[in-house]
């Protein structure tokens, strides 16, 4: 039973970490919005989907037939990340402006905002399935089919580590994801904007009295969360070369789980929860078979929450000081 895991421990670990890094990037969006607004932004999975779509569009528009190399590759990757990140960040800000701020201004209950989030999520999915994929991507009547994306970089094996093949794209994804999260952590803990975010999350009313512009802070929170989801989307396209209108659904649930696992509202918890979830899924699949991987992952989630109800790190945003 454990032979399989022990026999290929490193391949399972590497794949788990890469998937976990993507979970972590998306989880940041859930955790930040929750930290500031105490709202589960269920449309965040669609913000991720928009990131994959924008990156896929970049790859399609470049229209190469062979994987890129050298400077063209660097440029292509940067463009993918830039467009993916910008599209998602823009959509997230727009989403906040249209679906959440009016409710917040009128003092609606959090439940109303939650319903608004679910509505926005379905709206965005159907918008892509019915309008954007058929027309912008020029795939009439195939709005719900998955779209293959051309290979942007060669997936040659660089070296092997304990039987695991390490590819350049995997290193890139992992390093990029961790790098973004470190930058974000610095931003929140070391800058004036970060102080505003922390203050708002701690006590919105006092923050206003101290001269923090709440609307601006909320906008920036959505912007950063969206940006991270968009970058995750671009990295996702690089890794899996596939997307569809509902791609965010399952990944969004996993990322939300990662956020809760790490301690929702906690930035470092999102990263830790993501990596933890990615590893547990892969180890669980190795031991019990891939059909069981979600069962194992969620059983672990329940167990962790039973003993640490606030998640692994268990702090909220305002207390996470460097």
């Amino acid at each position: 039973m454990f032979d399989n895991l022990l026999g290929s421990f490193w391949p399972y670990t590497i794949d788990g970490l890469i998937l976990g890094a993507i979970y972590g990037l998306v989880a940041l969006g859930y955790t930040m919005v929750y930290g500031v607004l105490r709202l589960i932004n269920f449309a965040h999975s669609e913000i991720f989907m928009i990131g994959t779509m924008a990156s896929a569009f970049v790859v399609m528009t470049m229209g190469f037939t062979q994987p890129l190399t050298g400077l063209a590759l660097v440029g292509g990757l940067l463009l993918m990340l830039l467009v993916g990140g910008a599209a998602s960040a823009g959509s997230a800000v727009l989403l906040e402006r249209i679906a959440y701020r009016p409710l917040r201004k009128r003092g609606a209950s959090r439940l109303a905002a939650l319903i608004s989030a679910i509505g926005a999520s379905l709206f965005l999915q159907e918008l892509f399935a019915l309008v954007i994929i058929p027309h912008v991507f020029n795939r009439p009547q195939q709005g719900r089919n998955q779209m293959g994306v051309a290979r942007i970089m060669d997936k040659d094996v660089l070296f092997t580590l304990g039987g695991a093949q390490i590819r350049a794209d995997q290193i890139l994804i992992f390093v990029a994801a961790i790098g973004m999260m470190v930058l974000l952590d610095l931003l929140v803990n070391r800058t004036k904007i970060g102080r505003g975010i922390r203050a708002t999350s701690q006590d919105p009313e006092t923050a206003v009295l101290m001269g923090v512009d709440i609307d601006k802070i909320v906008r920036i929170t959505f912007l950063i969360g969206g940006l991270m989801a968009g970058l995750a989307g671009a990295l996702f396209i690089l890794q899996f070369e596939i997307t569809k209108f509902s791609i965010g659904f399952l990944l969004g649930i996993k990322a939300f789980t990662a956020a809760v696992l790490g301690g929702i509202g906690n930035l470092r918890g999102a990263l830790l929860g993501g990596l933890f979830l990615g590893l547990i899924e892969n180890y669980g699949a190795a031991i019990f078979g891939s059909g069981w991987k979600d069962v194992i992952a969620f059983t672990v989630l329940v167990l962790v929450l039973m003993f640490r109800p606030t998640g692994i790190l268990g702090e909220s945003l305002q207390q996470a000081r460097a």
Binding site: S8, P11, Y12, I242, N282, G291, K293
Partner: protein
């Protein structure tokens, strides 16, 4: 010939009367070219087509819908007494949607027959609704073995089941492909698991070593499954499931350096597998199917004509189950052309079907299974899916 009204329940009789009445109204309002004097306006009967017409697996449902439409149009063009209208029901392969649509078809739209449901999972749930309402139905693509074991009297299919497909593919894997160590993966669906189990059982009787795993077709990351395949070092991999999952799996297998021959069943027989996997990764993949897809170098005149007519009408080559959809509808048009207008009379007539269809000779045994049972093997070559041949005679190159 005489409609057996007496045998129908009161409710159904009213239903049929309403159908005829409504259809007559509908027919009357249409401009009719060859109407002819004092005789009553030609009535129109509704036949449903149910399947995933807009969802992820619509690539294997739209061709049979088009095939059925072609059969209807050809039939209506002969200016028969009773015309046929095809009513599409888009179930998106969701069983509960299919049940609701079946009820709508029976109660609101009053269809007299149905082509579909397309997939096995939805059939299991929706066919009982049709059965209860005594609406004859012929699926062009549902291949789960157990469907024929329900004692359904109004259900038929024009494709051999997975019990035929699975062993035929397994024989091919163990025979011409000479694989001794086979990794069998399923997507846990009604169809995928059934087919994979049939392949597993037959491979074991052939003395091959079989390793199992399962995956979630909605997930994207299959690395845990792929890692298992890597450590099992198989000669061949079989996947029971649909093309969306097959494409993602095949890409990730090839990217991890797995060179074993890749096999799958009819659910993967769509260009979507090449798009999902990438042309380079998909090259050489082998796909078994009880279906007969017209190929560019077709020699059978009837199939050639069908392919030309289909292309002229829909602007695309007839893909998977197009011929079967046409044949299923032809069984209905022949029954209605011969004077059957009530669901019961149509059911009786199709039970006696005996004609050469495009895909195969069409006749049904008492459980609703087709009598002809050939399985064909297709292979991906240079971004196209080509016919390799009948599974009992096809040979692998290299």
């Amino acid at each position: 010939m005489r409609p057996k009204i007496a045998r129908l329940g009161g409710v159904l009789a009213v239903g049929v009367a309403l159908t005829v009445g409504l259809a007559a109204c509908g027919g009357g309002s249409e401009p009719e070219a060859g109407g002819g004097g004092s005789s009553a306006a030609p009535t129109t009967l509704k036949i449903g087509f149910m399947g995933d017409l807009s969802g992820e697996n619509s690539g294997i449902v739209i061709p049979p819908r088009n095939g059925a439409q072609l059969a209807v149009d050809e039939y209506n063009a002969t200016n028969p007494k009773v015309k046929i209208e095809l009513v599409p029901y888009d179930s998106r392969a969701d069983a509960s949607t299919a049940v609701a649509l079946a009820q709508q078809a029976v109660k609101t739209d009053k269809v007299v027959a149905m082509v579909g449901p397309a997939f096995s999972g939805e059939s299991k749930q929706a066919v009982p609704v049709l059965e209860e309402a005594k609406i004859p139905n012929i699926s062009a693509s549902a291949t789960n073995v157990d469907l024929a074991k329900n004692g359904w009297k109004y259900w038929h299919r024009v494709v051999p089941n997975d019990g035929v497909q699975g062993p035929a593919i397994a024989d091919f894997i163990a025979g011409p492909a000479a694989a001794k160590n086979v990794f069998v993966i399923d997507d846990k669906s009604e169809y995928g698991l059934g087919l994979a189990d049939a392949v597993r059982a037959q491979l074991k009787t052939k003395g091959a070593t079989v390793t199992d795993d399962a995956l979630d077709p909605n997930a994207t990351d299959y690395s845990s499954t792929v890692n298992k395949v890597v450590s099992a070092k198989p000669d061949a991999v079989f996947f029971g499931g649909y093309y969306a999952g097959a494409g993602k799996l095949l890409k990730q297998l090839r990217d991890k350096g797995v060179t074993a021959k890749f096999f799958s069943g009819d659910g993967s027989l769509d260009k979507g597998i090449i798009e999902g996997a990438g042309q380079e990764q998909a090259e050489g993949a082998l796909i078994g199917c009880p279906c007969r897809i017209p190929t560019p170098d077709e020699t059978d005149e009837k199939v050639k004509k069908f392919a030309a007519d289909y292309k002229a009408k829909f602007g695309a080559d007839p893909l998977i189950y197009a011929t079967e959809g046409y044949d299923a509808m032809t069984a209905f048009t022949k029954a209605i052309g011969a004077g059957a207008t009530t669901p019961d009379a149509i059911n009786e007539a199709i039970g006696k079907s005996d004609f050469d269809g495009i895909s195969k000779h069409i006749s049904f045994d008492p459980t609703g299974e087709p009598s002809a049972k050939s399985i064909y093997i297709y292979q991906v070559k240079a971004g196209q899916i080509g016919l390799l041949g009948d599974s009992t005679t096809a040979k692998l190159e290299g």
